[in-house]
Amino acid sequence: MTAPAVSTGRRPRRRRYGDTGWLLDLDDNDEVHRWTAAIRTAAIPGVLDVVPGLTALLVVLDPGSTSSEAVASALDGIRPAQAGVTSGEHHLIEVRYDGDDLYDVARATGLSVEEVIGAHTATPWRVAFTGFAPGFAYLIGGDPRLVVPRRPEARVRVPAGAVAIAGEFSAVYPRTSPGGWQLLGHTDAVLWDLRADPPARLRPGDVVEFRRAGPA
């Protein structure tokens, strides 16, 4: 792998994460995806996974086959490409905006229901990272007017395909699970399929656009 001759970005702060990981602090989520791609491409021996967070990423290593120090020096030699944003897959997800919290979200944001739907479909979202449950993708980049708190109490059962928002994030529940996010609607798109490889349809760095589904 050849590194670009000129690098303008500052080096991320590398923090020890026990004896099996290194955490890199980055400026924003775009940086997280650029560094994730560069570290994956570098294929450092003994690295088991590169896990994105919102503004940090974790490099997981196998202490049986490498050392923290060896991985640290390999990481310090990596220069991600400066040009552009690494871009993942693009997904168009059709949503029926019939969620139980749609009116609460409208009230909380001061928007009409139509404006909430318009705001949710207007901007492309990006998978910042996953967590909470297998295949649960935290989407960022939405309309800032849609920032709402979680529900005061979590629901015991949120069905698979539920489209929801909380904080600055949106998500589609990939499987039926408990959940405390505000439900805007649902999609028939299958986002978690154990027969697929990989099983998660939305992966860190992917772009997601929501579109209002036509009447049933």
């Binding site: 923090r15 020890r16 994460y17 026990g18 004896d19 099996t20 990981g21 955490l23 994730t36 088991l48 996974d49 590169v50 896990v51 994105p52 967070g53 919102l54 503004t55 940090a56 990423l57 974790l58 997981v60 202490p63 923290s68 990272f129 996953t130 967590g131 909470f132 449950a133 297998p134 295949g135 649960f136 993708a137 935290y138 154990l194 990989p198 099983p199 998660a200 992966r203 860190p204």
Partner: protein, 290 residues
């Protein structure tokens, strides 16, 4: 096909193997045996591949019958073992004859006892592992009486003939090294001092996700929320309210509270055996000296 029939389970009996590696970026944690040291030993004793699936019995009380003669070994939390009514030893391989029942008592210390069968055990493989991830609800569901578990062919070597020398597991306070970071700078000097001198007691709501700890407060110097970041086995996460959690096999892959320090991989098995009421003392080490 050789198979075990589950007759009784204690608090929980799970099939666990080496877990799922390299899928955390998709929201899938590693899971696998919580006490990886006892698990690996059990497989070694019967000559299995190191990651072959075993039964992880929480608080013992597991009872299984075999339809054909199998070589087995039991490791981890010490329990009284009976095979067809006769006592037998842990940490050494022995034959369970066709039709015989192996029964575990309550562990006198620790939480998790492992049963390995030569050839390993088969279950529902999900993403390359049979391990039941209690948080993600993935893998082979928890075992219940009446379940039949097939024996596999994950054989690697000739079985060990000796008893493995094991440090006895006790309920005495345990001492865990803790590599400070990655977010120790969110905490005051007082918090770091409390980690060295304070005692932390494992609470009853502990599980395979993590050991929850009651102890002195660990004051922060930084306000505000941590942007969600990846979590790792052995991480000691400190929520704003509530108890610090030492993450075990089924920990979440990302979390929004700072991790003050991480128990090194070799010491995690000890933490995974700490039972409610047991006292943990940490030996914090600055990240730079690790």
């Amino acid at each position: 096909m050789t198979a075990l029939t589950i007759r009784a389970v204690g608090a929980q009996a799970l099939l666990e193997d080496g877990g799922r590696r390299g899928l955390a970026h998709l929201g899938v944690g590693r899971s696998g045996a919580a006490d990886s040291a006892s698990f690996t030993l059990a497989n070694r004793l019967v000559g299995n591949q190191p990651d072959a699936a075993c039964v992880e019995a929480t608080l013992g009380q597991l009872s299984v019958t075999t339809d054909e003669t199998v070589l087995v070994a039991v490791t981890g939390a010490p329990v009284e073992l009976s095979r067809g009514g006769t006592g037998c030893a842990m940490n050494a391989p022995f034959y369970l004859r066709a039709g015989e029942t192996l029964t575990m008592g309550w562990p006198s210390a620790g939480l998790r006892t492992y049963l390995a069968v030569r050839g390993g055990l088969r279950g529902a493989t999900v993403l390359g592992s049979v391990s039941w991830d209690t948080m993600a609800q993935l893998g082979t569901p928890p075992l219940s009486p009446g379940d039949v578990v097939e024996v596999g062919d994950a054989v690697a070597a000739v079985p060990v003939t000796d008893q493995a020398p094991m440090a006895p597991m006790t309920n005495a306070p345990i001492e865990l090294p803790l590599l400070l970071g990655p977010r120790d700078d969110w905490f005051s000097a007082e918090a770091i001092a409390q980690l060295s001198t304070g005692t932390f007691t494992v609470t009853p709501d502990s599980d395979r996700v993590g050991a929850r700890l009651a102890g002195p407060p660990l004051p922060r110097t930084r306000r505000g929320e941590l942007a969600s970041e990846p979590m790792l086995l052995g991480a000691l996460q400190v929520p704003t309210e509530g108890r610090p959690t030492l993450f075990l096999a089924d920990h979440p892959v990302t979390g929004g509270y700072p991790v003050i320090g991480v128990v090194p991989a070799r010491a995690v098995p000890l933490a995974a055996q700490a039972r409610p009421g047991q006292v943990i003392r940490f030996r914090p080490q600055p990240a730079s000296s690790a």
